[in-house]
Amino acid sequence: MPPIRTSRAGRKPPPDGFEDLEDTLLEFQNKMKDAENASHEGKKKYEMTWPVFQITHQRSRYIYDLYYDKEAISKPLYDWLLKNGYADPMLIAKWKKQGYEKLCCTRCIQTQETNFRSTCICRVPKDQLKEDQRVQCVSCGCRGCASSD
């Protein structure tokens, strides 16, 4: 049986510097809540989860940028954020690889789940698509996340 987490005990307090990001993270949290509670009316079934993927991507990107690009947060704080689910470590791991710098979600590179063992359409570079071909992938609503775009 996994340990029961309460608000009182167990959880470590955030390291220094968390208060700088707190507002932005709270905003993301609220956005996520709105997306979760949004009505499904007039939407396709697979469209429902798009905003969730998008917000996750944005939030992960935010933390990734702060740590790797701007070097604004400390290692302990970064680890704490990952541990507490503020960013998706699997996604960030992909961003560090060449060719995956803009990856929208990890589901889009899953070749196991597609009919022809290929990646999602959003991984195809724009210049290899037909002229004026607009794509939006089913899994997360991405319009193209190839690194060359």
Partner: protein, 436 residues
């Protein structure tokens, strides 16, 4: 020639004793003094000097267009055009800080269209140069058909206003009856232009009128310099003035550029009066501070033609980011969605979104580094101190720890993660024990 107003006294002021009003063969009014045998285009002021309104107190500058128009705040023409053309005046502006240049939507847009804004110059310091921006002044005058005393004046910066020859009133916003005349006039102008474009020779009287107007302008400029033009003979001076005109106009540095601009203004004719309305003035005032700097730079840019370095542009963009007052921890998307960026001229300092984003992350890095250093310099505060102060305020004998915690759970001191819950609890219990 004195028809373009420049005389200090307001319209209805009676002439001082000895002066008489006459009409020159060209149709302009002039004033003649019998005893001294002096004549002038400037309406002579009465003996008692006018009390200047505080608005004009700052720099000594040529008298405003008409006091009536300026003092009249009820109708929405708070600023009648002001003229400063002589070098001395510009010098004074430079020293004392002249009034800010007034620009309208129209000429801003135009400058951009015409590719006249060469971008921005200088980094943080160059904003002090804004004072050097040249002032607006009347450039061109046309009679409005069927609106006898009203005259349409175009300024150096391409804006237009109407001026009543008789009452010496001037308005940025065209009064309704004059508006009709202006629209009619614009139509005629357009037709004439089209005709010219079709290659038909422009009628001779047209050219003559142009020449006359040019002469007027030159004379007006001359006048502002000297304030009083003394003439021996009443007739025969036109030629002199026309001769002078050539010199004066050639002295103007960016005359040619402005001339071309002016012609372009004529195209969107019908909506122009609307543009000159209240919104325009309000907009001007609002933008005055923000845009002035850019303008000054642009003007200078035109004069000197120095290209902006990449660094300058980035510095400019960073300054804009500074001005947003947002935390450097804010994501880029948020900056964009705030909308404050787009409205600013400095946003266009960098041409592409990618460049902007790069500049943004650079700025973030710098700012965060700076903030960190500041924080490091500040003495660290013990979280216990704050918590004890909080307890001193709110702790009560009647509340157990659990109740107390629930009651004040939203206060920052209770949320403070640096002090663990256990510590908070023991501190509270001790404190309450001491109270008993």
């Amino acid at each position: 020639m004195a028809t373009i107003p420049s005389g200090p006294p307001p319209a209805m002021m009676p002439l001082p004793a000895g002066w008489t009003e006459h009409t020159a063969p060209t149709g302009h009014m002039y004033y003649f003094h019998k005893e001294t045998n002096k004549s002038t285009y400037v309406r002579p002021a009465p003996e008692v000097p006018l009390v200047q309104s505080p608005m004009h107190a700052l720099p000594p500058r040529p008298p405003p267009f008409s006091f009536d128009a300026e003092a009249n705040h009820d109708n929405v023409n708070p600023t009648a055009p002001q003229f400063s053309s002589n070098a001395k005046q510009q010098m004074q502006n430079l020293i004392f800080g002249g009034p800010p240049p007034r620009h309208s939507h129209q000429d801003r847009g135009q400058q951009q269209r015409g590719g006249h804004r060469g971008g921005f110059r200088g980094g943080h310091n160059s904003f002090q140069d804004q004072r050097r921006a040249p002032q607006d002044r009347p450039k061109h005058r046309d009679d409005i058909p069927n609106c006898a005393p009203w005259v349409l004046v175009r300024t150096k910066l391409g804006r237009r206003f109407v001026w009543n020859k008789d009452t010496n009133e001037s308005f940025w916003k065209f009064p309704p009856d004059v508006m009709k005349g202006v629209v009619e006039f614009d139509r005629i102008q357009r037709e004439r232009k089209e005709r010219r474009e079709r290659g038909e020779p422009s009628d001779a009287e047209d050219d003559a009128a142009m020449a006359e107007v040019e002469a007027d302008l030159a004379a007006m400029e001359e006048e502002v310099e000297q304030q009083v033009v003394e003439v021996d003979g009443e007739v025969g001076m036109d030629d002199d003035e026309e001769y002078e005109e050539v010199e004066v106009t050639d002295d103007e540095g960016d005359e040619a550029g402005n001339a071309s601009k002016r012609q372009r203004t004529e195209e969107p004719v019908d909506d122009q009066p609307v543009e000159m309305g209240e919104d325009d003035i309000a907009w001007q005032l609002a933008q005055m501070e923000a845009m002035e700097g850019d303008y000054g730079e642009e003007q200078e840019e035109e004069e000197e033609g120095l290209p902006l370095t990449d660094e300058d542009l980035r510095a400019l963009f960073k300054e804009l980011l500074d001005d947003t007052q947002l935390s450097p921890y804010t994501p880029w998307d948020k900056f964009l969605s705030e909308g404050a960026l787009f409205e600013d001229e400095r946003y266009k300092a960098l041409p592409t979104m990618k460049a902007r984003k790069d500049c943004f992350s650079e700025w973030c890095k710098e700012r965060i580094q700076m903030q960190k250093e500041q924080k490091a310099n500040q003495p660290k505060q013990d979280p216990k101190v704050q918590y004890m102060a909080f307890l001193d305020k709110f702790a009560s004998k009647k509340l157990y720890w659990a109740e107390f915690r629930r009651k004040y759970r939203k206060d920052p001191e209770m949320k403070d993660a640096k002090l663990s819950d256990k510590e908070k609890e023991t501190l509270y219990r001790d404190y309450v024990k001491k109270m008993r």
